[in-house]
Each structure stands twice: as structure tokens, then as C-alpha cells.
Assembly symmetry: D2
Homo-oligomer: 311 residues x 4
């Protein structure tokens, strides 16, 4: 039986101390502590960990944190959307995004050639430089083979990068496959199309990649899912674990609620309907902005694993 | 200058009358009336209309409404996720989904072989019968050609169906392409994978399909987007119109807010940053459950267009 | 066993027809139909109905609808916040509010002497004219007695109004008490304070009014709650019914979710913990903007009651 | 010009370090850092600080944190709802609340005599013991005078408590008035009513208390508002500062969005329409669960003030 305890600030308080307090604080703070604990549990149990996130998180500074997590072996399989891949590559080549405002004048931004994602700004030039890079990347890929599974293509791209804060860089060097089930849904898709117009035998094989994600784990392995935000990233990871018998651990962090029946808002209770997750203590859903909640929960987990010599 | 007016019920009130009242009611009801007006405007201006929705809406009874809208020429291009395609086909072959509860006992449901999407229930058997159908569908496709763009494949499937309430049925017969940028992210993806294992030369060409959606409209044509929910369906339609100069009209209906920088919550203000939408009166964002808001807004638009002899 | 049915538009569709379709549509539309049914049930069962709403709903055109509902005997007890009372009185004296925009330039509005509530605009002058009225109202009240329970005071004010669309007008003439547990939390509170400075024996007796709301129903009577939005309006009605044995019927319509433990987001499941509501079919929670959802649900209920000769 | 920076975990990371990173992270994390900065600014500028919160936050372990903040002179005026006052007193007399689950079986809880607030559980016995205390409290108050302004009454109650983690205890000893504009909206209201039945000359003077909150600051003083959640607590503080020329600093932390025109979701942009807040840097709105966001933002502010010798 856990009781609610009064929170007290003590000078020099660490993230880990605060999260320890969350356990007895109330509402979503309790869920966040649970999420942190489930992450620790999945690592201790040597589960294969699917980490999924949406493009807007890569637009944010979480991008470097994801790269660090891959390097620390906290993620074994990545699922994301193509915008995130584009922006990771842009950043790896030196582009910097600016802090903006949610209530900007969008007409004015447009005139200045600036694109807005919430309170983050991306210049048109960043996309233009990306274009320049892509043609070289595709020529290089095409010279090796004509038919590419998406995750293999992304690994090749990652190997060409030299930024340690890059998701693709770390994934390619740590044997962590990156799956992106809608690879054409972004500027990259447009460039793939232009390239295929010149090279009709160039094929991006999404069907083969579905096999790759299936084979990235097995029925026998323990599996964990950390899904940040909703979208096909979350769905694709859940689907993959489901076809291999279901996840043993699941942490969902999202702003979406379950009341509209959307994938973004679907709760970890579903995990129970998969028939694999048995214990309440192995699932957690945290409602809130991932840019706030994920670093706290994950940092507390990292501190715990570090203290136990498991990092 | 519009004033707030007191709402009054009158006996036998029509949906259209209520929506007319919304114009002067307040908060999201005003936005809903605006959405209905923008839909009327895009039709009157002969814009090519992109209608996008997520799978959970096809799970719901909106599926038949979407089919009707295609038949009525209210949508020229469909973008959705693969779950919706699977369920449209299931329903076309006689499967029925049940009304459930949001707070069901998921362990109990699992034991009964029932899957839950919010307050809607789908039996495992429905998926199993879908499996049986798929092999025949794929054999048939493969016999015609080895390499398929996704929208061409979906048209072929639609032509095999005989249910007038089916989205694929109506789309295939009304020359409305259905785009699905993440075709493998569902049970169908698994069957594609199994089929390709036997037939390695079977290729689903997502890159070619990106060309198809680009060519489905042009720079010169007026373009409108009706995006229900978020996800890649919404993003893919916006991206496609953007590459052709931007949409002239945009209606977003969603439960997501813009505060987390997600695609689901991105507002129509963005449309202004595209540099195409100039007038406030041509865009509308309605926050609310689409199962409630979309039928009201669209029915009012249909009544209006019908009265003006445009349906 | 209810099944999901495909929605179909038919020309001239009535609100009632649409709500009938909601029963088999999905997600919140199903809950909305349930809410409409619970309203019908509470009336058929002759329950005393508590209708609660927040000030911003009176700012909107729902104000006239609430007045109509009181006239139609659809509400027996009103609980609201003082802003709503002020605005009802302003409107009764001819003030009109304008339709504005959520993303207005607030500095510019301030310079023009305009106050914004979401997408509704109120001029400073409307408040100034209200000030002029209040002194007369208070003088009149004070001449009758020195100590006033809030609901008695509001009844007296209502009797002085001559606008049939006014909540206070209809309430005072239909013996429907209006409770406002935080009567000082608005411009009216400031005027009460100034008046008391001159007349120290003028007393607003909130404690006595708690007795009034308690005695407005009894243990033996059936009780129903229709709570729109959260706030103390909702809480006060629930508390009052609780002290009389709990509500038999409860409909909550709100944009708030239960995940933060707030009163606004508390669900009707609580009603079960009161030990009075036994059947699932007697409670409903609808997530969505009340300016859209309440008119639909209530109009469908009114049509039903009207057809059965109960209005 | 601020840039987005990659987040990196470093061992032993302090809350303050994480919040420093939030400045360049993205979405709500940026707003949270801004909120923390605004809190520091209002203290450095010697503003009178209004701290407002809803009852459910006192149910949680934030209660002891609020008490600590009062002791540290971080709040000069408190505004809350009566449930919070009741629960602060219960806890001061030794009652403990338990950690529960959002998806509890409410019928079962009812049978066990347990009340649920989100994922926090309160036993019926806690309320019963509160009842026993209240009669003594009221007898004591009545023996001193017959007519009480609410904040004076709450100060008297605070002086009788001996728990340093109690909000009322700290407020009464640090000359911080607690305002509660709807004092009857809870169990305490019921007891006030019963007491007045026996002692008709016992008066709770809410009008006088409106004068007290007005006089707690002046036109000339700098004023800051930290509003946690919505409700009349937030509105009452804003109203009070408005009547004294507007707040100079405002931090709103809430789960509510502005799209429904509710007070809970009203943004700090309003502060600009008051004509007092001039600079963007003096206001912040953070969307998220206060049990997570407030401790982080406030702890970072406390560390900063502490380092500068201002605590």
C-alpha cells in the first residue's frame, strides 16, 4: 500500500530524486514514475526495446538524446517517420533550427522563407541543402544495388554521416535498424520519385522491410515498446511485437487521449489484450508533452541502471 | 460584423438549421460552421478535393459516409492508412463490428478473441476471414503484373468488391485514387510479406505512387484538403498539395492541439505559410471528435450544395 | 448487441435523425446518443434536474437555449458562476456580444476597449452599463431586507428583467432557483463590496443558500444532473445531490479528461461510487466542445419528449 | 536568437540542469523553462505573488510543497477551493491518502467506503474525523465573533494546526491570506449550514473578503500570478489583480486548451489585453499535468533564487 507523501524541495535536487518523489505525488506524476520503472525493468530483463517517435521530436533537441540512447544500448529497434530522418540528416550536416513561438505570424514567416513546427523554425535553405545531399546519397545507393529495403538504405545513409549526435549515425554503428514504414511521406519521397524517373529499375522495397522488422525479434525473446507520440511509428512497433507474440513491457507517452479511438491515444491497457503483458507493473501510459516527460522518466531510468552497473 | 445570437430549438429542426445557428453560437460551433462553409466553397470553386482520414474512422460507421461522399463527387483523392483499407474490405465481405465500451475488461476481451478500438469491437474471426481473401487478391494481382503502385493495387481490389457502402468499391468506380503511404503497416503488410517470400519478383512500388499523387492534381488546379484526424494521411495530402503550389482551401477536424508541435495538432494557419491560402474565410480548424463534428459539418454542406443544384 | 452501421446522408436530415445514427457510429458520437437518451430517461422518471454550466457558455448563444430549457421545464435547479449571471443581465438590457477570433491581437483589442472570451468579444461599455444597473438593483434589494441568500437575490433580479431569452427572467418566473456558490467572483462581487462599504449591515448569506440547494430536492426524489463543463457549478450540483443520497441520472459534457484528477474531467463513473446510479444506461460522459455537443444531444431529447407528448 | 540544441544526459543530472536544457529543447519544455524564468523574475522584482491551485492538487503531495513555498516567501496570497482546505486540515490531523488507480472499480471502492480522486484514494473515515474537528473549530470561531470574513476564518483555523507541512499552518504564521471564494462548496459548507441552523447570527461574510483580497495588493505594487489549473481560484486571482491595474507577471500551468473559451484554458495572452504585461518574457503558459510540470519549473526557480542569495 503506497501513500501520498508531501513533496519537499531540497537544495541541489537531482532529477532522480524528483522522480522518486513522483511515486507518491499524484495523477500523471505517479504514471511517469511507473514509466521510468518499466524502462528499468525491460532493460534488466534483457528485453529487445523498440523505441518509436514522431518527426516533430527529431525537430526538437530530443534528437541528440535519442542518439545517446542508441549509443547506450537503450534501444534495439527504432521506428519513426521520414520527416525525422530528413531532419536528422540536415542537422548532421550542420543545419541548426531556431526557437520560435507558437503564435507566430505565419504569413510573415513564409515571406522570410521560414517553416514552423510548433515553436521551432526551419529555414527553406535547410531543405535546399538537404536536396543537394540527397542526390549524392541516392547515386551512391544505386551504384551498390538497385533494390533496397528501407532500413538497409537508412543504415547506408547513417554510415556516411560523421555527427555523433545523429540518430542515423549511432544506429548504423550500433546495429540498430531504423524502420520507416512511410518512407515517401516527405521531401525524401519527392527525391526518390525524381530519381526513379531517371532510373526506373530503382526500387524501394517496403514489403521486404516488413520482413526485416519481423525478424528483428522473435517469439522467444522478451520485447519492450517505448512509444513516444502516436502515428504509424507507434502502430508499426506494436504490430511487429504482436506478430511475435506481444510485448512484455510497454510505455506510452503521448498528449492524445483514448476517447476518440485513435492510435495516438490508445492506452497500454491494450497490451493486456495481446495476452502477453500480465502484470500491471509492466505497463505505463503517461499523458503529457513528450519534450517534458520523456527526458525526466528516461534520465531517472538511466541513473538507476547506471548505479546498478547496467549501463 | 457578426453578433452572438441566442440559440432556440424549433420542432423538427434540421441539421442544416442547427449548423446555421452555430455561426453565431460560440467557440468550436462557430469553427464548425466555418468548416462547412469552406467545404461548400471548395466545391463551388471546382477545387480538387483531398479527403484524408485515419483507420479508426473506417472502423466506425463513417466508412459508409465516406463511400457516399465519393459517389457524390465530394472527394477526388483519398489518403488513408492501411487499417482502414483492411476494415473496408472486411465489411464489404459481410463482417460486422460491434458497439463496445471504452472501459472494457481487456483481458476478458482477449480471452474471447475480441479486439477493441475505443468503443468498437472486432472479432479475431474477421481478421481470419480477411486473410483468406487476401491470398486470392494477391494471386490475382500478381497474375496481371509483378510491380504495383499502391493506388493501382487498391483500385484493382476495389473493382472486385460488390458493396456500395465500401470506400474501395466507390473509389474504383468513380476514378478516385486511394493513396496509402504506409501500405505495410497492418495485417495486409504481413500478407504482402508472406506473398513476396514465395514470389520475390512481386514488388509494391511506393515511390511510383508518390508520382501518382503528385500527378493527381497540378499547379494550375484549385486544391482543397479535408483532413480528418492527423497521422500520415493528413501529412501526405498536405505535402502533395504543397509540391503543387499549396492548397486553396483547407479544413482540419481533429482532437489534437497545436501545443505539442505534432502533425495531428497542426492548424490551418500553416496553410497561410504555404503562401497560397490568402483569406481567413478559406480555412477552418475544428477541435473535437470527428465522429460527431464531421457528419454535422458535411451534412450541412451537402444540403447547401443540393439546394443550389450542385450535387 | 448493437452493431456499427454505415452512416448515410438523406436529404433534409433532421438533428434527431442524425443523433439516431450516432448510436451505431463510433467513439464520442455513441456517447452523445447515450447522453441524449439519459436526458429523456430522467424526464420520464420525473427526476428533479440540476443543469449546471460555466460563464463562458452564457457568453455564447447557449444562453437563450438555457432560458428556453427552463421555460420548457427541462431544468429544475440551475448552478452557475457569477460571470454568467452578469452577462445574462447585460444581454437582457440589450447588450450584444460579437463574434471574434481565437487568435486576435490582444494588445490591439485592449486599446479598443474590447475583452475577449475565446472567439467572442465583449466591449468595456457593456460592463460599464452593467455597473449603472447594479447600483439600482442593490438599492432595491437593500430596501427590502438586509440579509440575502444568493438564490433569493438572483430571483429578485430576474423578476426585474423583461427579456424572455434571459436565464434569470425564465428562472424567476418558473420557480427555478439559480445557485451561484462564488457570487463575489466577478464584477458583481466588486459592486457588492462597494455597496457594503456604505451599508455595513448588508449581508450576502452564502451559508443559508447552501441550505436552500439542499432543500431544493430530497432523499426521496429522483435526481438528475446535466453538467456542462467543469468548475464549481458541476461540483456544487454533485455535492448537493450526494448529500441527498446521490443522483439517479448523470450526464457530463466537457472538454476535460480524467487523467489529471480535476473536477472538470471527473467522469460519470464516479456516480457509481455514490452508490445510487446502478445501471450503465443511466450515465453518460461526452468529451467535446459543449457549444457543439449539447445542442445536438438536447435537441434530440426535446424532439423525443415532444413526440411522446411530454413537453 | 536561440537555437534548438541536442539534449544529453550526464550522470547525476540535477533538476536545474534539465530545466536549463529545456530552454533549447522544443514545444512545452521551452514554455516550462520560460515559466521558471518568469517566477524568478517576479521574485527579483519584489512582486506580490498570487499562488492559485485547485483542490485536487491539495489531495496530491503538492500540498506539502505549497506549504514549503509559503514558508520560503514564494507566495504572498493564496487562492483555492474549499476541498483543498478540508483536505489540508485532514492531513494536518494525521489522515493519509492512498495511491490508487485511474481505472479502479468504483462500485467496489464505494462498498469499501473509499472515495477516488483520479488515482488518489480517500477513506470515508477521513471525512468523518474531519466532521468531528469542524464542530470544535466553529464553536471556537463563534465564541470570538459572529461575523467572519472567509480569509480571517481560515487564518484562525490555521493557527490551531501543528503540522508544518500544512498550507493553513504556514499561511497563518507567515501572514499569507488564503482566499476561497466558494467556501460552502464542500463538506465544510454543509457543516457551516448545520452550525448556522443553531446559531442564526453566525455569518460568513464573502463580500467583506472580496475587499480583503483587493486590499492585499495595490495599484502601485508589482503583482505576479502563478495559476495552477483553472477554476475560480485562477479567475479570482486574475480579477483581483485586474482591479488593481493588472498583473506584471503571469504563469499559467494547466491541462486545458483555449479552444473552448473556458477559464481553465484561457492563456496568458489575456494578460496583454489587461494592458499591464508588456513583454513576452513576463508571461508563460505551460500545457501539461501540474503534478509533473509545476515541481520541475518551481524547483529550478528555487535553485536559481537560492544561488543568488534571494531565498
Amino acid at each position: 500500500m503506497e501513500y501520498i507523501n508531501d513533496l519537499k524541495w531540497t537544495k541541489g535536487m537531482k532529477v532522480k530524486d524528483l522522480v522518486a518523489n513522483y511515486q507518491n505525488l499524484g495523477y500523471q506524476s505517479i504514471e511517469l514514475k511507473k514509466a521510468s520503472d518499466v524502462i528499468v525493468k525491460m532493460k534488466k530483463d534483457s528485453a529487445k526495446v523498440f523505441l518509436t517517435f514522431t518527426s516533430n521530436m527529431v525537430t526538437s533537441g530530443l534528437r541528440g538524446f535519442f542518439a545517446q540512447l542508441i549509443r547506450l544500448k537503450m534501444a534495439d529497434i527504432i521506428v519513426t517517420t521520414v520527416g525525422g530522418i530528413e531532419e536528422d540528416v540536415m542537422k548532421a550536416s550542420g543545419e541548426r533550427f531556431q526557437v520560435g513561438r507558437f503564435d507566430s505570424d505565419d504569413v510573415e514567416l513564409h515571406e522570410k522563407g521560414i517553416n514552423r513546427v510548433g515553436n521551432i523554425l526551419i529555414k527553406n535553405e535547410s531543405y535546399m541543402r538537404f536536396e543537394d545531399m540527397v542526390l549524392e546519397i541516392l547515386n551512391n545507393l544505386y551504384s551498390k544495388q538497385k533494390r533496397w529495403a528501407v532500413s538497409d538504405m537508412l543504415k547506408e545513409i547513417g554510415l556516411t554521416l560523421s555527427d555523433e549526435n545523429s540518430i542515423l549515425y549511432q544506429a548504423s554503428r550500433n546495429d540498430v535498424p531504423i524502420f520507416c514504414p512511410a518512407i515517401t511521406d516527405g521531401a525524401f519521397g519527392f527525391h526518390l520519385y525524381l530519381f526513379q524517373q531517371k532510373h526506373p529499375d530503382f526500387i524501394v522495397d517496403v514489403v521486404k522491410d516488413f520482413g526485416n522488422i519481423l525478424l528483428s525479434t522473435s517469439q522467444d525473446e522478451k520485447k519492450g515498446v517505448i512509444a513516444l507520440g502516436g502515428s504509424i511509428s507507434k502502430h508499426h512497433a506494436i504490430l511487429s511485437t504482436l506478430l511475435n507474440g506481444g510485448a512484455n513491457y510497454a510505455v506510452y507517452m503521448t498528449t492524445a487521449h483514448k476517447t476518440s479511438g485513435s492510435m495516438s491515444g490508445a492506452t497500454t491497457e491494450e497490451a493486456k489484450s495481446w495476452g502477453k503483458v500480465q502484470h500491471e507493473s509492466d505497463i505505463a501510459t503517461v499523458i503529457g508533452d513528450v519534450s517534458i516527460t520523456f527526458p525526466i522518466a528516461m534520465i531517472a531510468a538511466l541513473e538507476e541502471l547506471s548505479e546498478e552497473g547496467l549501463l
